[in-house]
């Protein structure tokens, strides 16, 4: 029953390469002294990694739900801990997204970071390794290792290069997420004692006693819900986002938050299926609260970064909503939203970073009325704002549509409330957009975006339209994997009935 691992057909261990190549970049950077070569090295390392991730992407076989490009080496035999890597339709996309976002983060920090450039770039590269590692790992301990190790560079990114309240924000981020993760560790050990192995594949799609499932699910959920973050656990996010440097915010929004959703999809559903079903109504309610609450809080924000941070809470509500409606549309919508939110919100944070470099303020009023001053900037800003509230033709529309279909299949009432949330999203994004474009009359001498900044945003803009107008390549990539997940879950529930 357990999904099997297809060993790597390429001549070299591609997943290990993608995961650990940034570490090579770190090693090179350690030898360098001057700032300029350090930045270039970091950029090259992330770009090469992106190319490798494309190799992975194009060699990926979407016709099988199994894990591909597998690597397996014994690691700590005494505890049956192995070094196992593999990707399926869900993770191949996330790996590619991470590899795409990383060079953009290096680019956007080119001028913004003035002190300790070397350490900053090392942190970025360490982040990339840990994030890709989380998605590739198929052993719980390996997964947990990356999952936790990621906190250290992220913490340093906020604590050293952050804004005025960086102490508070970084500490809150670290302790909040660690608090969730320790329960994950306990759950992992419980699974190990049941299965005799830390393998993730071996733990999936099995019949566990219902009580056991409940506890495992709750332990998982604390960890993942904090990471997503779901409604009552979201308070670390605005603080961390606001204080983090641009690159940190982008990593946080585009990749880190996705790990929570990924965790639900990869662990909660296949391992604790019955408990997930049992708790699904609560999760749906929390998701809808997140969508509506996040939207209304956004309406009251005056800080651009905070507004986008709260909008993340609402967007991630769509993702968890899609996952916990248990239909194939819901899963597809959730996966698309994971990708879309990574692109759109990442881009919006980049945009805030760009204007912050010029005005040194994130207040909406200080940055208002840019329409005539920096037309290219406002053009991009319009595009990503429209995409953010799911304007038809942009990427988020497709994702939210799938989630809404799935929600309406399960419950009309839930669907209605979700629509309310979607309308609020339009209200707060349009309000922001109006202010930025026409909010002030006075002319200020501000430079428009330069080539480097346009280059940073162009790939993301391309994806906005690509996913918005022609999502088929992305959908078909993960379709088999998600259908397999749904079929397996159905089988499990039938077993439960008998």
């Amino acid at each position: 029953m357990s999904p099997q691992l297809i060993m790597n057909p390429l001549g070299f261990p591609i997943l290990s390469t993608v995961t650990f190549l940034p570490l090579l970049g770190v090693a090179v950077i350690l030898l360098l002294k001057k700032e300029e070569p350090i930045k270039v090295t970091a950029l090259i390392a992330t770009l090469i990694n992106f190319i490798f991730s494309l190799v992975l992407f194009f060699n990926f076989d979407p016709k099988t739900p199994l894990f591909q490009f597998g690597e397996r080496i014994g690691w700590i035999p005494a505890y049956n801990i192995n070094y196992v890597l593999g990707v399926d339709g869900i993770t191949v996309m996330l790996v590619a997204l991470t590899a795409l976002i990383s060079p953009l983060c290096v680019l956007c920090s080119w001028r913004a970071i003035e002190k300790r450039v070397k350490e900053f770039m090392i942190c970025l590269l360490l982040m990339e390794t840990a994030m890709i590692g989380v998605f590739c790992a198929l052993d719980f301990i390996l997964f947990y290792l990356f999952w936790e190790a990621m906190l250290i560079p992220m913490y340093l990114l906020i604590a050293v290069w952050g804004g005025p309240q960086k102490d508070y924000a970084s500490l809150k981020f670290f302790i909040y997420t660690l608090f969730g993760s320790v329960f994950l560790l306990v759950a992992i050990i419980a699974l190990y004692l049941t299965n005799g192995t830390f393998g993730i594949m071996e733990a999936m799609f099995k019949k566990y006693p219902f009580n056991f499932q409940i506890w495992i699910f709750l332990a998982f959920t604390i960890a993942f819900a904090i990471k997503v973050p779901m409604f009552p656990f979201h308070t670390w996010l605005p603080a961390a986002h606001t204080e983090a440097p641009t690159a940190g915010s982008v990593f946080l929004a585009s990749i880190l938050l996705k790990m929570g959703a990924y965790g639900f999809l990869r662990f909660c559903l296949p391992i604790t299926y019955e408990a997930s079903l049992y708790f699904a109504p609560f999760m749906v309610v929390l998701s809808i609260i997140a969508i509506i609450y996040g939207g209304f809080v956004c309406l009251g924000q005056t800080d651009m970064k905070k507004l986008i941070a709260y909008s993340s809470v609402a967007h991630m509500g769509f993702v968890t909503l899609g996952i916990f409606t248990f239909t194939i549309y819901g899963f597809q919508g959730a996966m698309l939203q994971i990708l879309n939110h990574g692109i759109t919100t990442g881009a919006l944070f980049l945009m805030v970073g760009i204007i912050y470099e010029r005005t040194h303020s994130r207040e909406i009023y200080d940055n208002a009325g840019l329409g005539k001053i920096t037309p290219i900037y406002v053009g991009f800003f319009t595009l990503f704002s429209l995409s953010s509230f799911a304007f038809p033709g942009t990427n988020n529309f497709i994702g939210e549509l799938y989630v809404l279909i799935s929600t309406f299949i399960k419950s009309k009432l839930a669907g209605f409330f979700t629509i309310v949330g979607a309308v609020v999203a339009a209200a707060y994004m349009l309000r922001l957009l109006k202010q930025i474009a026409w909010g002030r009359e006075d002319k200020r001498p501000l430079a428009d975006m330069n080539v480097r900044e346009v280059l940073t945003l162009l790939p993301l803009a391309l994806f906005v339209f690509w996913v918005g107008l022609f999502p088929k390549p992305f959908l078909s990539l993960m379709q088999i994997t998600l259908m397999h997940l749904e079929v397996q879950l159905k089988n499990l529930s039938q077993l439960g009935v008998m």
Binding site: W75, I76, P77, A78, Y79, E119, I141, Y144, L145, F146, E148, A149, L151, I152, Y155, L156, A159, V160, K166, D167, S170, L171, F174, I175, L178, F179, V182, F183, L185, V186, I189, A190, Y192, L193
Partner: protein, 462 residues
């Protein structure tokens, strides 16, 4: 042959006794460093030998030799860390080395002793040397005198309690040899008398481990003693004490739930107490003392299932603990230019003063907090697994919660050294100091990522 490591340390101490009498002393550091390197070499060779000495009171086996090797490595690191005349007055330097040597000798004998009287004597050899060096600190103040008196009194009490327990055990089993005690004790192990006696003996080692409620001396002694002395007290006696706690609790291994229950209560209290009080500490050494109390609790998690796997996990954790704690103390030693105590605020701007020191401290602090990929995480994982396997889910959850609580103050160390950077004057490190920093960082990360070799060794030690 089998006793070569002990003999080396003994000669080390004798040599420094002679040096302390000489008018024209040779380079003490050079001799000390040379001899401990030889000691490490011999202790590594010693892991291959086995034997019984002194009518079976002294056993050389893999278990004892592994611990001796750890103690020897720790001792060598302390000797290499110590190079400042500012810590201890120059004229007492030879005596200082001598006492450190004798204390190490006592600890090495302790892990080989399998007879209650020799355990008591070895423990005293190591303790008395420490009583003597706690007040040895440059610039006499009330602090270290108070610390030494406290250490002496608490230590004497602990020894007394242990001897009391030994008396009970002898009364029950008519023997002081552990081999003979075990078969007799099994019949009585569920009775209050036997449990009481076992815990009276364990109390002396809990005292060394600074486990709650035997911890009262630790913060004051750490604070009062010289930084290098505190580094020694915080690590080596704990390694040996862990060995003895493992050995003695194995006495009760024949299904003594009562012992395990009391151990788990101690573990839980110790973790909570150490971490909660650690949250409000201002002085680094006091903070490390409370962290040590909490870590004694973590350690017990490996011991309380009374299984070999758990004990191997505990030894592994002790090895990691040795290195991460010594790394913290080393940074402290280098930051405290004049051998003074350093407050946590005193670390501010460390990353600018010396990036390497800040990195070493961060690695050690993250390891103490149990964040991967450091040894602290891997060690804690093994402890959690074995405690969970033994059925102590409650203790595991308490341990997990405590990991999150403790993070706050460990992170404070990192935060201070990275986030602030006013008035930074560069600390220049010699190549010797740099090398030690690298060794600490590499060891901590190595133990985190590649635990298999050592773990297998520890598993075979039973």
């Amino acid at each position: 042959m089998a006793l070569l490591p002990e003999i080396t340390v003994f000669l080390f101490s004798l040599l420094f006794l002679v040096f302390s009498l000489l008018k024209n002393r040779p380079s003490l550091y050079l001799w000390a460093r040379g001899l401990v390197l030889l000691g490490i070499f011999l202790a590594a060779l010693g892991t291959a030998v086995k034997g019984n000495f002194f009518a079976g009171a002294y056993r050389v086996d893999l278990f004892s030799q592994v611990f001796k090797f750890l103690i020897m490595v720790g001792f060598a690191l302390v000797i290499f860390m110590f190079e400042s005349e500012e810590e201890v007055e120059g004229e007492f330097l030879a005596e200082y080395f001598m006492f450190l040597g004798f204390s190490t000798l006592g600890l090495m004998m302790l892990v080989s002793s399998v007879e209650l009287i020799s355990i008591a004597i070895s423990l005293e050899i190591s303790s008395f040397s420490l009583y003597a060096i706690v007040p040895l600190r440059r610039a006499q103040t009330r602090g270290q005198l108070e610390a030494s008196v406290k250490y002496l009194f608490f230590g004497a009490m602990a020894t007394g309690v242990m001897l009391y327990g030994i008396g009970y055990i002898y009364g029950i089993t008519h023997s002081t040899f552990l081999v003979n005690i075990i078969p007799h004790l099994i019949r009585y192990i569920s009775q209050p008398l036997a449990v009481f006696a076992v815990f009276l003996i364990l109390a002396a080692f809990f005292f060394k481990l600074s486990l709650f409620p035997f911890h009262f001396w630790a913060p004051d002694v750490y604070e009062g003693a010289a930084n290098s002395t505190a580094a020694f007290i915080a690590t080596l006696p704990k390694v040996a004490a862990a060995a003895l706690v493992i050995r003695i609790s194995m006495l009760a291994s024949a299904g003594a739930k009562e012992v395990a229950i009391v151990l788990s209560i101690f573990a839980a209290l110790s973790m909570f107490f150490g971490n909660l009080v650690g949250l409000v500490q201002k002085d680094i050494k006091r903070l490390l003392a409370y962290s040590g109390i909490a870590h004694a609790g973590y350690l017990l998690m490996g011991i309380l299932p009374l299984s070999e796997e758990g004990a191997a996990a505990a030894i592994y954790y002790m090895a990691v603990y040795l290195f991460m704690n010594l790394a913290c103390f080393y940074v402290l030693l280098l930051v405290a230019k004049r051998g003074e105590n350093v407050a946590i605020d005193g670390l501010s701007g460390l990353a600018k003063k010396s990036p390497l020191l800040a990195f070493t401290l961060a690695t050690a602090a993250f390891s103490l907090a149990g964040i991967p990929p450091t040894g602290g995480f891997t060690g804690k994982l093994f402890l959690f697994v074995s405690a969970f396997k033994g059925g102590y889910l409650g203790v595991v959850i308490i341990g997990a919660i405590n990991t999150a609580i403790a993070l706050f103050y460990y992170l404070n160390l990192v935060r201070m050294s990275y986030a602030r950077e006013e008035n930074a004057t560069t600390i220049t490190l010699s190549s010797h100091q740099k090398l030690l920093c690298y060794i600490f960082s590499v060891l901590i990360i190595y133990l985190g990522v590649m635990p298999f070799g050592l773990l297998n060794l520890f598993k075979r030690a039973f």
